[in-house]
Subunit: 249 residues, 2 copies
Amino acid sequence: MGASVTSRALAILGAFDGEHRALSLTDLAHRAGLPLATAHRLVGELHRWGALAREANGDYVIGRRIWQLGLLAPVQSGLRQAASPFLHDLYGTTLATVHLAVRDGLEVLYVERLAGHVSVPVVSRVGSRLPMHSTGVGKVLLAYAPEDVRMEALKALTRITAYTITQPARLLEQLKRVRAEGYATTGEEMSLGACSVAVPVRNGDSVVAALGMVVPDLRRQLPRLVSALQVAAHGIGRTLAGAPSVQWK
Amino acid sequence: MGASVTSRALAILGAFDGEHRALSLTDLAHRAGLPLATAHRLVGELHRWGALAREANGDYVIGRRIWQLGLLAPVQSGLRQAASPFLHDLYGTTLATVHLAVRDGLEVLYVERLAGHVSVPVVSRVGSRLPMHSTGVGKVLLAYAPEDVRMEALKALTRITAYTITQPARLLEQLKRVRAEGYATTGEEMSLGACSVAVPVRNGDSVVAALGMVVPDLRRQLPRLVSALQVAAHGIGRTLAGAPSVQWK
DNA sequence: ACGCCCCCTTCCACTCAGCGGAAGTAGATT
DNA sequence: AATCTACTTCCGCTGAGTGGAAGGGGGCGT
């Protein structure tokens, strides 16, 4: 097993997730699979450096230093910053929840999400992952993913709602249409009452991200939304290409 | 010296900063003060875990996993999310660059920054730090900081522009007025051509952050800006207090 | 084409940092 | 006062980590 000190320290950091943002030393040791004394020493070191911080009640949380480091990640500093103003424009003109996502392995990783004060109950969260076959941005990313990734992803089409596509052949058919038409849609495949549209974001020739929005109903306004999305995606692509900053994938 | 494995691994992460977002193994070893072979092994472990990623050219960058962890930090998940919609409103009504910041030690840490397509040349960046005595948000945070922090901060008033306040007595005088009037201003004290206003954000009785904006000129519209800021700050405070989510300080 | 240089990767025997069971401390709870 | 839970400290044994050195490999100048 992970016997190296480094892997143990990382196991401690890995013990935090969306449902566990604050953990006591004992919990931390337990979740990381470490003896209490060992966890105590490592946690102390991480805390001293600023990777962990303590709350008023003594629980540990992820520290500001990790947060700051995260801001240096290419996904954040390149893509997200390029996209930010365009997302605001999109939100301003449509008032729908807007998403920017990348593919990470066989999942969709949400990089940015914009919603108003009263956010529609949408599942996604910045930094969270969702399956690719049941989301608009996921279908786009899958459509433009390398062949082997696509095949791998087709093997596990888990059902989420009654409308989720679980037949590989049907999904492949849709992905083909996505490539032909340049956008993807979903209808209550991820959560009931929510439809989505998404388009690819390109940097040069390669698709580097997907831009999507979630709305209660698509039928009437689909063309308008698609064209708004495409304008924004194109703008982001141009910013990425022209940016003198760091490469990001 | 930092001889523990953990501190060495952290030193590698710490080698990244705003000016060094992508580093080769050799640079990394050099900046972290480690022998190449040692750095190689540690970097490999960090990379395998996802703390580091590699770019096309082989350079290492901060990985997505660290970015995701950072999103769990209280500063991000509590404060930032509570503030986000209010910042958008503020930006929408004023079109000025808007800032949310907290105090970290003797410096101001920028937690959120909102600007339009054409951003005025503002020094701050999300995740960056600036001195407290030369920024609007800094003055607010200093005004409401514990006595010992304030005294410590007064010892090092470094000059940045010709208008930077470097006399402790004068700054103290201003901080007193900040507490009395509920807002702080600066006039070209951080960078020429930029003025700022800022107000405290409260959670219950304690000041937990500062909300500010940067504009080319203050004179005419000061009252309007201050009241817009105060409305937003109040809204953020209410959201924080009422939020069922994690505590964040 | 050849050799040079720079950067990365692998190896291996020594040794000291890290390990973790156990004992100690501090609060809360009964 | 006794009991429990959660955290902190101690210390001698040991194998994980170390890092100098040697082994690729690819880009560049001549």
